[in-house]
Amino acid sequence: MIRALLSRAAAVFAAVVCFAGSAMADEAIGQTQKQSTNTTAIIMFVAFVLLTLGITYWAAKRTRSTADFYNAGGHITGLQNGLAIAGDYMSAASFLGISALVYESGYDGLIYSIGFLVGWPIIVALMAERLRNLGKFTFADVVSYRLAETPLRVLSAVSTLVVVAFYLIAQMVGAGQLIKLLFGLDYNVAEVVVGVLMILYVTFGGMLATTWVQIIKACLLLGGATLIALLVLAHYGFNPMALFADAVAQSPKHEAIMIPGSFVKSPIGTISLGLALMFGTAGLPHILMRFFTVADAKAARSSVFFATSFIGYFYVLTFIIGFGAITLVATNPDFLVAGTKALKGGSNMAAIWLADAVGGNLLLGFISAVAFATILAVVSGLTLAGASAVSHDIYASVLRKDHDGDSSELHVSKAATVVLGIVAIVLGIAFEKQNIAFMVGLAFAIAASSNFPVLLLSVLWKKLTTRGAVVGGWLGLITAVVLTILSPSIWVAVLGNKEAIFPLANPAIYSMPVAFFFCWLFSITDSSAQGQKDMAGFEAQYVRSATGIGASTGSSH
């Protein structure tokens, strides 16, 4: 009933736009649904792009200074920032990936979601406010507050760029494949479209445009996912028990989807993944940057609460969506590769096909457009974080630290954005056929093993010195990268060796302790003059981090 209504609405909607003629004609001659789907999806996506370009134009007029570019002048409110943080978190990878995980293995998908969420209470209770009080634009501002600036800025910038690069490649490759499938666009064209739009948002609109693109997308994604989940539940008379019972009956795995399964075969592996997910969040540069876009510590804290609530709600929705796909997608031959049980386009398409199953073309088009928008918004945030590392940490604070004036820094950050955008397009094309499953996990592991230990210790542990931070931070980063290369996800899946040298998929359980241990060891044995200076600076830094005295506040208009 609802489906029929939505299809009718889709047809009416299509009729008022110019593409309608061809779309209806296609349907009339019995083409596959994909043809008309593309039209709806493309119209909605074009609408999103026009809206966000309009916002970029508006933001560009308000982005004049370096501060505007990096942190939107500190004018973002707690609720807006909470939505933007949630938007950064709800990437296409987590929307499509987690619902696919639930679709494939049921309960195990929830374990993943929980890992992504439990880091937030710790971030808000121990870190958010101190970061806001100490930093200005990037988290390197915080770690280099009392420690020697050059080595820590270089370390932070390198680990930022490494994290951003892996995250970007994962998003770009996902974007290309999704767009190819949903819109029928050529893969390379899709990469260029994403890259160019992201460069436009970031160079012209800076953090203000990047934040608003993220906020709009977060609302669209939350709204779309809510609608799919409600339509699934409506199918079962709003009785989740009936949904679960049907899923058990329909799934080839039956009762096994209701209990933790293969995902947790190795306890050490589970704990290691949990560590990376939990503490990686506290070290992701594009997330940390958002704490500097709000006016004060209070807004920083509120934004974490909003973000956590939205993210938690979103994961409950993906859980319902995954189960809905088990009952409504896997049982419909329209969505399967002929003669098999495999989904068209792979398991990652579970949520997308479910939108079609419960809402017809209109919802399918909407969700496809939202998935595309999601990728755009997330890559924009990542690119801004990467560009800031180049222009603020390397260029302005290391190469030109004796110079004042911020006009050249702004030019460098815009140039860095363009270069990063081009690099992202090239890497996206180069990695098209590669197995990229390890990349987001690796980004989290590096963030948890380099950025997080150095950040936490520099703020809370008086005895951390420059030497300790540099040795521990680099060793954490290198350990995470090397163990990932030796792990099954690269050593076996990418390099084609028979057996992995390092057995775990995620290295955090080793690389995090390595970072903390060497930060500690090389700090307590440090008797250099720099080390004395580092420790002497702690009290003043601590008082500022605790009270905000001397901290920069959002300038008022």
Binding site: I111, I114, P121, A125, M258, I271, A297, R301, S309, T547
Partner: protein, 104 residues
């Protein structure tokens, strides 16, 4: 490079009774909640690793005990964040304001 606080100001703030109260309360509250979250989460992970049959106990229909427990962990992350933010935005911020006003 940074407009560092003067030593004199730092000592004055550190001696301020409001600052001492703020630090004691906030630190113990922040660490307690962080440890609570760690205990809940790693308790859950250990159950996944070592108590799978228990988690597989049927609660109702086809739904196992793993569902309410998982939802509890998920909700606890939101609730703990909310509890901290609520107290920090009222009580701790009021104390911070007093410290800042007294040490301009």
């Amino acid at each position: 490079m940074h407009n560092n606080l003067s030593n004199e100001l730092v000592r004055r703030v550190q001696a301020d009774p409001n600052y001492i109260e703020l630090e004691t309360k906030r630190n113990s509250f922040g660490w307690s909640l962080s440890i609570l979250m760690l205990v809940i989460y790693y308790g859950y992970v250990l159950m996944l690793a070592f108590a799978k049959p228990f988690l597989g106990t049927i609660v109702s229909g086809v739904v196992t005990l793993a569902f309410p427990i998982g939802m509890f962990v998920l909700l606890s992350a939101i609730v703990i964040t909310g509890i901290y933010v609520n107290r920090a935005n009222s009580e701790f911020d009021a104390l911070t304001r007093k410290v800042v006003e007294a040490n301009r």
